[in-house]
Every structure is written in structure tokens, then in C-alpha cells.
Symmetry: C3
Subunit: 346 residues, 3 copies
């Protein structure tokens, strides 16, 4: 058995594109350190591990929490984060001359100690392109590539979720999470819910996946989630019923996502998706449904920003069993852990 | 009597939306520390008081001095400032789904040690909305909310003004400031001049407020300024004469501001305001008028950016009795003081 | 003879608008320190020389490498860099009220320890205006003005080039550089190639300048380059032949630039320039031409971003004798050296 310090050092240089790319032991190391860093926020011994170093954050899509949490994470490790937007980069596109990913990545890895990338549904022509882009960066970069949310996955959200569930539920093994399609006016990416499906079962959680017909997620991800469930003895159930699915679950993750028909003709049809989604007003997490959860005391989790009144009622969202603000805070601690492990001098 | 250190610690966690919300003793503490920090810019014992910490700056409106001075202030206390613009935040608006102020503020206060907000005349539908927004943030945030200029007030500008006047005039008690409406092509907010009206009398300065008919400021603010004058034995005079008002004043604050008619139909009519303002070319601070000040040696103060040729002549603005650059520099020191007191480990 | 430390201190406060404004001895000091900082990237004794200090970066034009390399450079000296774009500054323009350069520069130099400026071809109405702007800032600023690339010069690129050539060629005296007009779809500024013409000969390099008829550079710069060549015994040759010029050169610098006809009627005609440029497909650096270089082993240099397929073939650009990524990395080290010398506490 390796000592804690040794296990931590083994993660140096690793990319984090989805938690599914990391072994269970690697995830344990990251989560343990994340909890440790939360407990000792400004006093942890790794607080200087990014001194003089810069983390490059490349946002194809804007964000609130992601930018704030990554930038604060860098600062709290004595490093700096650089906020870059594509308009500030002369990258080659299908229609204009510019720089290739190869050239950009090779140079960026001479300057930064890590590169974060965020690219969501509306900046791509078809599902999967964002993941391809991250893996192309990873191919040419000498420093870790960290997903700050992309079309397929959102690993740091997954880790923050898990921290929050562990804080509020203790050992999550054997607990059940309802991953629930909430209707909404935003037509959201699949990244956060897919990451949940891939990560939670590795810690032994049962999954109930509920959505209207026509709102299937990536079949490969769902298949992988089922496998992870099998490996840990957890159950995986999929249903189209908006109410029954709440029965006896321990926690509800209500989130809107777009349908597999969202892309056609080489572009995202967001407005169509929104209109289609709004036809399912019964798909909302509210107090009545929450009464069906285990002992009527199920928790509520969400990656934020919340589309209140669509995905969830104000009553549940601001209520005493909502753990969303704690989970949002955990983004900071989870990312500090990931950055310290993959980029830091520890 | 509390010792200096104890008085300083009492300000931890306080919001600063206008200096009028602070007691005179609290303002004394802030100004004294600001002068101290200017004298020991890179050597002050509080130079590490924001180490590992992040100040979140939320700019609905762009700025030059405000961003530079707050960001440098954070850096000079060993912290970091994060520059955020609303386009980078998916906040809920009247017409689009997004995040509520409640959700944004709760999470931001988990990441940052303070939140600065700037929202000026053109980002609101009626006077007072900016102030309401800051107070809504303050309601949900666990960390201090600092105004970086909003429609009603500009507290850090007021503190920087006061520092500059103390540097150039010594004790300001009994001195007279002419707060003068300069014509101009910018149709400016009321925040800086209103803050001056509220702060200067608390240090015993007499106010002469001069503007053309139809350019009244917020009557509540003017009333409060009169009260502060009474409390310190200062005088308050209001006039519509563009020249006589210069007689025997010690310092002239010439600044354009828009009329109370600027908002109607739910929006700001900036172009109309500019056209109306340009009909008063005699309302400019120039050498001829400055000769009327006390011994012909009145100082010139302005929060910058200056609209030269409208608000003030080049001759006065770049002349030997203009203290504008010193006041601009003082933004840095005043803000370092406010940040150290309200957010720092001191 | 002054000791190294003394020579270094003499550069404190100096502007860097072009390397041609610095003496050869000053350039030697900067390059020597740059190599030293590369060798001891995070351990150099000057690693804290910008502690608590802020470098203000003013980008009229966006950039990849320039922003990243300057911001990382500041961080690696324990300082901070602030990224500012003109849209965030209410500066006076020909058609709108706003702040003068005098006012902006005076105040900025109260906040920052140095000011970087970047202004390229499309933000000016005629060649030379960018250089005038930098010199106007320098007139009013009390802190160093550093060019981060402008219409005429790009001094930090020149220094990074020289570092790269010294790393790959040893002493460059007597070596020959082909400065070659590559055709392209970007119609680029003259700054990088002109800086090369001015800097390389001071280290004794021969220049071969090759471009189609009608693509002359600034005659004053070319004349100055010839003079520098004379001073060090180097040769200067100008030709319109796209192939013969490769014969026996040691290194090829292929880069597109626009023609002297690019500006007329008070604006840049970029599209016309691109169309005109694309009529010269034979002007590309490819393997066939590279075989003509000395022993067929000439190096390839370029300031990036590269317009692959126009300026240079993929084969050469990604090939074993391309030093472009090393040169890009050197931007970081060269700028750390310049910042430490002109702004740091060393």
C-alpha cells in the first residue's frame, strides 16, 4: 500500500476530462484531499503549491460559478488563473485563417501549468465535438487539460456533488439518487447529469433516471453507468413517469436537458428545444413530489444556475433540504484538490 | 476609548454602499488608515491581509479608474480581484431565464471575501434601481458589498476626495466647496456629487451647490446634506447663478450631471440630456471664474474622467491648483483601507 | 566596467518601444538576464521583484501569446497583470467625448508599475499612428511604457527571436537570416519583421530581405537596418526573387505583411490586401526551398500565430528544424527580464 503522500504525487500531470477516465482509487485521493482542503481552507499545507504558476482558462462559453470557483481555487493555492475567451484568440475556424489547436496547445503549455476548457452545446455543430476538442488539446499539450464543463462531461461538478452528498448523507453506498429531467426554458447540455450517472454508482449509489419519452441521454454513457452500477452492486432504473420515480429516493437531482434531436443540419435548434420542453409542466420537482421520497425527507441537489419555477419550485430550491449552495461551494474545494494533485508542487 | 486596533476590527464584515451609512467614527478610522497606507504603500503591516483571498468585482458598467484602483488595491494587500461583467453571468432578467440575485449572491459569498458592484445610469430603467440592486445583494451575501459607483452613491470616490482635500488644505473644517454643474457631452450619474454632498459636511465643510434651473439632485440626498451641515455647524447654499457662486470658495468641484427628467417611459434618454446640457456653455469652470475664489487660489477637484472643454477648461484642469490626479491616486489608498477593514485579516 | 548588478539597475524606469531605442549594452543586459531566467524559471532570485505590484496591459487588439506571456511573466515575478481593453475605457476619440491620453496616462502611472500597450494595423487610420500613441503615453507616464506589439515595432518579439537563435545556433554573428514575405490570408502588420530587421544586425547577422515588388517595408526602418549592418560588418541584401533568396541562408523567417498601399482614405483596406496577397502562391516557405539553405539544414522561425499553408507548409512548420515553439516560449522569459529590469525591485 502506498502512503497518502505517494498516492497524491501519482496524479501529477493527469488530464481530467471525465471522472470515468480516473480509477476509483484516484477519485478517492481527489475527494479525500478536497474534504481536507475545505476543512483547512486558508491554512492547508498545500496553500502555496501553485506559487508563481498560472492556470489558463479558455471559455468558449461564459459562466458564473465555473470561472469564479476555478479562479478562486488558483488564488487559494497561491497561483493565478487567466480568463481567456475565444474572441481574444485568433484561432482557425472553418471559415477564417487563424491558429491551429496544435500550435495553440503547444505554446500554452509552455506558459501555463494547466489548461481549463469550457465548451457547451451552442458552440458546437453536433454532440461530441466539444469532447473531441478537449482530447485534441490533450494530445498536443504537455500540461494537464481540465474540463470546466463540455458537451459530454463535467467532472468537477461531479466531484463537488459527491462531496456535498457525503457531507449531508455520510456514506452514500446504498443510497438512491433520482436523476430527473425538469422542464425548462434553457435547453441544457448533458454534461452535468451524465457526469452524475458515471460518478455516483462508483460510490455505490443506486440510480433512478426519469425523463419524458424522447429525452434519452447518450446511450454509451447510460450503458457505462449501468456497468458501474453492476460493479458496486447498485441498481439502475429508467422510467418515463414524472411522479412515481420519487418514491423512496434519498436525493433528487432535477435538471433540464435537451433532446437527442437538438442538433440537425449542422446546428443546435435551441428555441425549438425550449418550446418542446415547456410542453411538460408536470415535470417539475415540487414539495408534493418530494413528500414521496424516503420518509418525505429527500435532499435536493442541482449544479446551478437553477431555472426556478421550471426545474424546481422556489419552495424546494430555497428549502431546508436543498444542498445546492453547499455543492456550489464544493466546486472550489474539489477544484483546488484537482489542481494541487495534477499541477501543484506537493 | 477603544484603541486603534480594536476600532479597526469592528469594521470587519460591514457593507459600504454610501458613507452616509457609516458613523463619523467609522469614517475617521477608514480615512486615517487610508493616509497611513498611502505613506507606507508597499510596506504597511497590512500588506498581506488578503493573502489567498479574492475580491469579486461585478461591473454592469465599464470603468477605467474604478477597475484599476480596486484591482491594484487587492493586489497590494496580497489578494486578487476578479473582473466580472454581466454578459459573462447568466443572470435572470425580465425577459430571459437565468439566475436570481439570491442564488448568485449566496454562492459568490462562498467564493469571495467581498463583492464590489458598479451599476450606472444607463443600465437601469429608473433612478434608484441600482441602489436597490446593491441592497438586494447585501441581503443575501455573507460577505461585504462595496459600491464601486452606482446610480445614487460613490462612497470610495468620496473618501478619496476627502483624503485629497486633507492633503492639500489640512483640516477642512470651515472650508467651502462649490459643487458646480458643468455642462457636458456625457450626461452623467448623480453618484459622485451626491456622495460629496453627504460626506464633506460631516467633516465641517460648507457646501455651495450651483446648477441651472431644472438640474436638481435627489431631494432626499440634498435634505440629508443640509442636516449633516447643521450637525457640524457648516452652511449649505443652493444657487442657479453660474458665476457669483465662485466667490470666496476654497475648492471647486465642477461636474456634469443629468436632469431629473432623464428617465421616462422606462428608459434613460441620454441623447436628449446631452443636447439639453450643451445649451449652457457659460456653465464651465475656467480661469476667469476661478479668480473669484478665495484669494484667487481656489483648488479644483473632479472624480475623472474629465470632459475637458465642457466641465472645465484645459488651463484649470492641468493647472497647478488642480488636485485631480492626487485624488484619483487616493482611490487606491482609500479602497485598500476599506478592503483591509471590512474583509482583511488585520 | 560596471558590475552586472549595477548595469541591471541602470535600466529601471526605461520605456521599451523598439529595441532600436536601447543601446547594444542595454540589450545585452536584457538578453543575458532572459537566458538566466529561463534556466531558473521558478527559482531565480528576482522571482519576487514585482511583489504587490501591478502591470497594466492595454490591448487595443486582442492577442494569444502576448497576453499569456505578459500575464504569466508578471505572475512569475510575484506581481499581477491587468488585462484592459479599450471598450472598457472611456477614452476620447475623434467623434466622442472621453478621457485624454494625458489624463489616462497620469493616473495609470499612479496605480501600475508599468504600462503595456498593443495597437495594430486595424485600429489606426494610417501607419505610424500606433507608434505616436505609445510615445504620447510615454510623455505623460511616470512608469515604463512597454510595446506589446504596435504598427511599427515589436521589441519583445525581437528579443525572444534572438534568444531562440542563440539557443539553436550559438553565436549568431556572421549567420544569415532570410526575412521572407509569405503570402497569406491575414494581411499582417510590419511590426515583427521590422523589429527583426533592426535587432538581428546588431548581433552581427546578415539580412536577406525578400518580397514581391510592391511590398516594401518602412524605408526609414530599412535604412536603419542597413546602418546597423554596416556597424557590425554584416551584409544587407534586398530581392524580389521568391526562390534564389534561400541559397545558403542559416534561418528563414517567413511572414506575411501588407503592402504600403494598405491605407488610403483614412482607413485600412484589409480585404483588398488579402486578395492581392493571395495572388502570390509561389511565395511560401516549403521543403523544396528549404533544401537550398546552408547544407539544406536552415532553421525556420516565425512569431506565431502561423498561417499554415500560406506562409509556410505544415511540413516545415511542424518539422524538426522549426524553432517556433521555443521562440514563443522565450516571449515569457524575455518579458520577465524586461519587466524585472525596468520595473522590478532588483
Amino acid at each position: 500500500m502506498l502512503a497518502t503522500e505517494q498516492k497524491r504525487k501519482l496524479l501529477k500531470g493527469k488530464d481530467l476530462i471525465t471522472t470515468a477516465d480516473w480509477t476509483k482509487e484516484e477519485l478517492d485521493v481527489a475527494l479525500e484531499l478536497a474534504h481536507e482542503m475545505k476543512a483547512q481552507r486558508f491554512t492547508h499545507p498545500y496553500s502555496e503549491c501553485l506559487k508563481l504558476k498560472t492556470f489558463l482558462m479558455f471559455f468558449y462559453n461564459p459562466s458564473v460559478r465555473t470561472r469564479q470557483s476555478f479562479e478562486c481555487a488558483s488564488n487559494e493555492l497561491s497561483g493565478s488563473a487567466m480568463f481567456l475567451e475565444p474572441k481574444a484568440m485568433r484561432l482557425k475556424t472553418a471559415t477564417s485563417a487563424g491558429e491551429t489547436v496544435e500550435d495553440a496547445a503547444r505554446v500554452m503549455s509552455r506558459y501555463g501549468v494547466g489548461i481549463g476548457l469550457r465548451i457547451l452545446e451552442d458552440k458546437i455543430a453536433s454532440y461530441g465535438e466539444g469532447d473531441d476538442l478537449l482530447r485534441e488539446y490533450a494530445q498536443y499539450s504537455d500540461v494537464p487539460i481540465i474540463s470546466m464543463a463540455h458537451d459530454k462531461y463535467h467532472p468537477c461538478q461531479g466531484l463537488a456533488d459527491m462531496m456535498g452528498m457525503q457531507e449531508h448523507m455520510g456514506d452514500v453506498k446504498g443510497k438512491t439518487c433520482l436523476v430527473y429531467w425538469g422542464h425548462g426554458a434553457l435547453a441544457r447540455s448533458w454534461c452535468s447529469v451524465q457526469e452524475a450517472l458515471l460518478l455516483y454508482p462508483r460510490y455505490g449509489m443506486n440510480i433512478v433516471l426519469a425523463h419524458p419519452e424522447g429525452y434519452d441521454l447518450d446511450p454509451e454513457v447510460v450503458e457505462k453507468s449501468r456497468e458501474f452500477c453492476k460493479q458496486t452492486g447498485a441498481t439502475f432504473t429508467e422510467t418515463n413517469d414524472p411522479v412515481e420515480c420519487y418514491k423512496n429516493v434519498d436525493i433528487v437531482y432535477s435538471r433540464n436537458w435537451m433532446s437527442p434531436q437538438a442538433y440537425y443540419g449542422g446546428e443546435l435548434h435551441k428555441q425549438e428545444e425550449i418550446e418542446k420542453s415547456l410542453k411538460y409542466p408536470q415535470w417539475i420537482c415540487d414539495e408534493d413530489k418530494m413528500k414521496l421520497t424516503r420518509n418525505g425527507k429527500g435532499l435536493f441537489i442541482h449544479p446551478m444556475p437553477v431555472d426556478r419555477g421550471h426545474e424546481v419550485s422556489d419552495e424546494v430550491c430555497s428549502g431546508p433540504r436543498s444542498i445546492i449552495v453547499d455543492v456550489a461551494e464544493n466546486r472550489l474545494h474539489a477544484q483546488k484538490s484537482v489542481m494541487a494533485l495534477t499541477m501543484g508542487d506537493i
